[in-house]
Point group: C2
Chain length 103, copies 2
DNA sequence: TAAACAGGTTTACAATACAAACTAGTTTGC
DNA sequence: GCAAACTAGTTTGTATTGTAAACCTGTTTA
């Protein structure tokens, strides 16, 4: 198989999931974002958002900074360098299907 | 949310799955292909390939033409117009994450 | 005539995306 | 001062599905 298509099967599943892809894309365009912002922008449910953010954290793609604003907990999420790298790699992999059509 | 990112959540799951994405990309570059060709190019197992092709058929994206070559059954798979359209739409949707970075 | 191959289908299982329910604390309205 | 509503999530349960392995039917080859 053409090597460009072959790496499609090795796509990073953590990023490939649409909900997380959206989150990573969102986070890549800002320095950091809090839960409520991501909740509104992504239109996910809280449960979903929580789970997907956890998954991105486990993968080392997202870093959560928990602080307090007064007495209310506040968490800022930001992409880690690995997260940015993974996103770049992902986009590079996907690029192959865009090129593939130019036959 | 920016409308461009919003439609990421509505990505066509039939096409989004990497194995099928690969198959659709493969089929989009040729007129038609048989099972063995797809098996080799995709490096999927036969079971997988069969299931994914069935799924693409159910979605109306792929058409299978079963014939005989001598006494051996032979199936040619090709993308339907809907399949091509769906693939184009998919690539258009994904385009948003490529643009998104240009901030 | 047994083994290998073509061309798949069926089965079983493990992973996971998702919504709903729940938790724990805080603020607001009456 | 107490109930309701809000912040900021986590946990749980379910249903889907991607995957490999086993199976199947027939054909060719040694």
């Amino acid at each position: 198989m053409s090597p460009s298509l072959q790496n499609l099967s090795g796509l990073d599943r953590v990023i490939h999931e649409p909900a997380r892809l959206m989150l990573v894309a969102l986070l890549s365009s800002v320095e950091s974002a809090d839960f409520l912002y991501l909740l509104k922008e992504s239109e996910l449910t809280k449960g979903n958002l929580s789970v997907h953010l956890s998954r991105l954290e486990e993968a080392g793609y997202v870093q959560a900074e928990k602080t307090f604003r007064g007495k209310i907990p506040h968490t800022e999420y930001r992409l880690t360098p690995q997260g940015k790298a993974a996103f770049d790699a992902y986009r590079k992999s996907l690029g192959s299907i865009f090129d593939a059509k130019k036959k």
